[in-house]
């Protein structure tokens, strides 16, 4: 078994209700866990007019590989006339979206309904 720097800890919880797709990600998103995230999210992003909301409030770490997955998902959703939102970003992750200019094209500022769990 390969043991890298990562603990491979990620869980992805998907709730689908017609066009609304709610995804809750928990754990770490890095080069080792990003492929799993990609496999889970890409097929969902291809639904015509999908409204995807990804909640990252339980993500403790994300590097640029994770950012790449969300960029890919965002492009796919947009190509299929859908909407894409990310909620629950920590200050550290918010900074990542701001530095990269992604905050200007991806909606990251919607408040979580019912406050923070």
């Amino acid at each position: 078994m390969y043991k890298g720097g990562s603990s491979m800890n990620i869980s992805i919880d998907v709730k689908e209700n017609e066009k609304l797709v709610e995804v809750k990600v928990s754990g770490e998103i890095d080069a080792y866990t990003a492929p799993k995230l990609r496999e889970n999210l890409f097929p969902l992003a291809e639904k015509e007019g999908v409204q995807m909301v990804v909640n990252l409030s339980d993500v403790s770490y994300m590097d640029s590989t994770g950012l790449g997955v969300f960029v890919g998902v965002f492009k796919n959703v947009r190509a299929n006339n859908g909407e894409f939102k990310i909620i629950g970003l920590s200050d550290r992750l918010k900074r990542l979206f701001e530095i990269t200019g992604l905050a200007d094209i991806i909606d990251i500022n919607t408040q979580i309904e019912g406050g923070v769990q």
Binding site: A31, S64, G68, T100
Partner: protein, 336 residues
């Protein structure tokens, strides 16, 4: 005597000795024996077959059932022997891949090679270290006859081979830009078009491009989602982030970039880095920008090259010598 007989002989000595005295010494020699036999590709089932034969020879009056029981053990071990051979094959393949990667890393080094310009008024230091064989960070200096130095620093998402291949594309795109001096914003807009057409959906590149005018001492720059650069004001002895906003390369075809300018006084420094520097993780969490500043301050009296090298060494120590990401740090210091 053939090899198998030598092995059987050796095994016999060890076994006989142990049956006599049950000493630690005999146990130890059996450990040594197993290392040797693995080295010579002797399978576990072969050892059991030797063991069975010896036991039958040594104790001719033994109950036959005990001898038969070794047949079962032998059959079970066949699977383990198979796994061992597979493991040895993989080890061999891994070695081949490793040497191929080393060759590729050397090719890349030559391809992306850049040398620090020698300019009277500037002290420049640069360090770039890949986390693995191949570097996904890129930096390139150009000195032109109009007394300006330009610096490009880029970071491809991810690391390893895919990042390195992408970096080569950037290198060629940069080389194919018109010769005459271009504004940083134009450089980024040009590269963005190339990258947008040529990368996978989840791939992107951050880039910072700056030109230092060595007559006016003005640094003009633009950023495509790159880790903010730092500015050290010698007079107030304070660090600030160089403001810069701009989208990553490769996201939207028609992205426009904004250009910024900063006047540089004697002693001031411009500090450029890749996100490998701020994403350094230690046991206790991330290295905050604050601690990076502390480190730079600690070495601020040194030459630019010694500052970047010393900061790298300290960060490496803090992370137990294990880089998680490619690491690039560049400093421009105005001398006169």
């Amino acid at each position: 005597m053939d090899f198998r007989e030598i092995i059987a002989d050796k095994y016999r000595d060890i076994l006989v000795n142990y049956l006599k005295d049950q000493s630690e010494q005999s146990l130890y020699s059996s450990q040594k024996f197993s290392r040797k036999s693995i080295e010579h590709m002797i399978s576990p089932e072969e050892i059991i077959s030797i063991h069975k034969q010896l036991i039958v020879d040594l104790f001719p009056d033994m109950q036959p059932e005990i001898a038969h029981s070794f047949d079962i053990l032998l059959e079970v071990m066949v699977g383990y022997g198979f796994a061992l051979r597979e493991h040895q094959n993989l080890k061999h393949i891994q070695q081949e891949l490793r040497s191929e990667m080393e060759i590729a890393a050397n090719v890349q080094k030559t391809l992306l090679g850049t040398s620090i310009p020698n300019i009277d008024c500037l002290d420049i230091g640069a360090i770039s270290v890949p986390a693995k064989h191949m570097n996904g960070d890129y930096h390139h200096f150009v000195q032109d006859e109009n007394n300006s130095v330009s610096i490009a620093i880029a970071d491809v998402i991810g690391k390893g081979l895919p990042a390195a291949l992408c970096m080569s594309m950037i290198k060629y795109a940069m080389d194919s830009l018109p010769e005459n001096r271009m504004n940083p914003k134009d450089v980024l807009e040009n590269l963005n078009r190339v990258v947008e057409q040529n990368v996978d959906l989840t791939m992107f590149i951050t880039m910072f491009y700056g030109i230092y005018d060595t007559e006016k001492h003005v640094f003009s720059y633009a950023s495509a989602g790159h880790e903010p650069c730092l500015f050290y004001n010698a007079e107030s002895a304070e660090f600030t982030e160089l403001p810069a906003k701009g989208l990553l390369l490769g996201i939207e075809k028609k992205t426009k970039y904004r250009q910024y300018e900063r006047t540089v006084d004697v002693g001031d420094m411009i500090i450029l880095m890749s996100d490998g520097v701020t994403e350094c993780r230690t046991e206790d969490g991330f290295i905050e920008r604050e601690s990076l500043l502390e480190l730079i301050k600690k070495f601020i009296h040194l030459d630019a090259q010694d500052i970047v090298t010393s900061v790298y060494k300290e960060l490496e120590k803090m992370q137990d010598l294990q880089l998680r990401d490619d690491f690039t740090l560049i400093i421009f210091k105005r001398k006169v």
